[in-house]
Amino acid sequence: MTISKIRLTVTAATLMATALVVSACGSGGSNDSGTPARGGTLRLVGQGDIDFLDPTAGYNTDTHTLARAWTRQLFTYPASKEMAVVSKAVPDVATDIPTDANGGITDGGKTYTLHIRDGVKWNSSPARQVTADDFVRSFKRMCNPVAPVGAPGYFTSTILGMAAYCADESKIPGTAAALANFMNSHDLAGVQAPNPKTLVFHLTQPASDFIDIIAEPFASAVPVEYLKYVPNSPEFVDHVMSDGPYEITKYEPGQEIDLQRNPVWKASVDPVRKAYVDKITITQGVTPEAVQQQIQAGTADMPWDVTVPTPDIPGLTGDPNLTRNPSGQVLYSVFNEQSPNNSGALKNVKVRQALEYAVDKTSVSRILGGVKIAEPVSQILTPLDIGYKAFDLYPTAGLQGDPAKAKQLLAAAGYGSGLTLKFVYAKDTGAYPQIAQSIQSDLQAAGVTVQMIPATRSDVYGRYLANPANGKNGAWDVSLLSWTPDWFGNNGRSTLQPMTDGANYGPNSVDYGDYDNPVVNNLINKASSLSASQTAEVASTWSQVSMQSMKDAAFIPLVSQNLPLYTSSRVHNAVFLPINGNFDITNIWLSGGGQ
């Protein structure tokens, strides 16, 4: 399954990892009282650039933070401090959530009929209504050979004819003319526009999470003008069009992105974006430490792609502008179950179970800034994910690990004389080196010799984890990585499925350790083919997958992260969107309208 890449929460966000505090929902700081004021310039400061401006290809969380302001989708997630609300898609350009009852879902969950909201317009001259054809075009353009969709698997595995369409489209020459010609001459069976206001999807099988899949910014509306340009080319970037509340006025890669109000956007036809501020500026190339200092000094309002540096957090205790936001990001260790090292010890579930007991999760949490920032966890799912039910199969006192018990279980499994494990980790990713040393020390206390393999982040994935040959020959045994689902709520397809579906192991699989249990594979097949009306059963199926994967000790879940974010004191209504790992910039207002 090539569905989901690890979302690149650029820089500091990935550096740390964290904890999910259910009660942290109301963590939006104290600045959200008073009457919203319009006007002013919201100033974001951060380190890196977006990956692609083209919404079809953009996959980074910061890219999606920006996309919220200038693109619109059929469905999206509302700005809310309630975890249950923020993880449930609501209509955006579509008029309603389709259900069996309202006739939106028919054919046993395989056909979705949507209606386009009146008054949603492109900032073309003259302004033009967004139509169903703009969405058909979006799906047809996904597999262009130049800047294809970041996560094609979600679409090819659900939409009828999409896989074949993608296979053909990815082979055409990378010119605007060839792409336009292909899209105009080839029909995509699964996405049809019988009239400008009606959009019909045909699926290969029922998918309870289909609304969430097409709520991703990849499926933003695409105006006909985009066919004139090579996707994400400099010409494309110069001619982007907006149907959201803001339009891009300046884009200097790696330096600055500026937005101003889109004059044709109307609040009355946008149920989720309030667009209080007049302008938004994003300044890049600033280190996390400097970002923090600028925001504290009031010369900037909020971070763009970084979090508060860990050493700064204790000094901000009690500051209402510091919030800790449940991100759904989980830091975990994965076992290479194919490894021939130690005569295949990691294939033995008893060995993996023993190692589960060895690790001091409280220490990992402390390295990342304490339990408020990084909460120890005992499974891959967090309360933001479908199927989450609290359990801990390998409890230790104070979550501090129990090396003695681990040693004893290893002996019982026939490895009393110890193991030697190769531990590969990203040396250039935040606190990973320290976390790796902490785990190394824990494992050594349990009689395991750990050979450290520090590598660059890209090597960890490219050379070790995502390379089946190096998995089979034992180039690594254990690794350290983090996972952020692409969406929350009904998201098994973006959490446990890619991580535990052994049937799809291969190059680029994110089931890095080749965990393969037929019981789990069958549960996944079942969950993926239930329809939207069977969500309760979907949830219980994913619960079983989570439980089984932990019984099999497929990985050691470490901590789940509450992103520490800081805003200037003039920022109000900063609502955290877990899907973007940042605040919703379209719903923030500034004291006195920024005056």
Binding site: P311, P314, I367, G370, I373, S438, S441, A455
Partner: protein, 326 residues
Amino acid sequence: MASPEPDAVLGSFGADPAAATIVAIGGRGPWLLAWERLRRDPVAVGCFVVILLVVAAALGAPLVAHLLGHGPNTQFRDTGLSAEGIPVGPSKKFLFGTDDLGRDVFLRVLYGARISLLAGVSASGIAVFIGVFVGLAAGYIGGIVDTVLSRFMDVVLSLPYLVFAIALVSLVGPSLVISIVVIAMFSWASVGRVVRGQALSAREKEFVESAQALGAGNLRIMVVDVLPNVLGPAIVYATMLIPLSIVFEATLSFLGVGVLPPTATWGNMLAESIPYYRVAWWFVAFPGLALLVTTLAFNLLGDAVRDALDPRGPLARTRKRRWFRG
């Protein structure tokens, strides 16, 4: 300390002319004279003491660990870190405070000295050995051998060493041995060049001609006649290379391509301390100071050795003074 050297050269003449008539003046070779000069240079003596202390720290680190009852990698997760994961400051238990994993910075600085000295001394030793060998061959043999070796040295000197080192380490994987090899690989060529120049002038000297006339072989002339004449500059280079190699090793460790964690090295410690410099000064200050003091001591000692071995040239320090006077 106006200029003690003339006294050193003149021996006891200046001090007690009467005694001079009684005590026979023993023959003193250039090495002995150099030693005499070095011995009377207070800076050199001070640096030597500092280096001895560093060596003692390096050798005594396991003993200190034994006395303290914990190792350099022991993580004090409860007493060495605050609940938010901030290192704790210097105290009776942790003389230099702790690092980001709650480890004892004092002990780690001591253990770091082992790596720094090992890398510094062995890398410069290898570099000087190769440099002398290649330089001697190029300078004495001359001709095509000289051309090939000299161009090779030029190539080595023109390589962007840090980029090359990082590339090499990512190919073969980081370790102390690799670090030493990399440092030596990029340091020998400058020694080689100097030695070549010396050998070039030495082979034209009369004593070489006489050796040739007596029928000595090339190898014998190189080792017995030419080598002693190039050894002075080589020794100066060796002392100068040690601090360079120590810094080079620290740089590699700092960049994460040197010695593997959790082994304590000053470079590793500095790299780990960066995010904490505003809240835990001790974490960056002590390894930084250790690196500074050690390299400074080696550098100043290197200067003094050069002055001692090369009485013809003005002293580096007096030369500077003159320059300041205009």
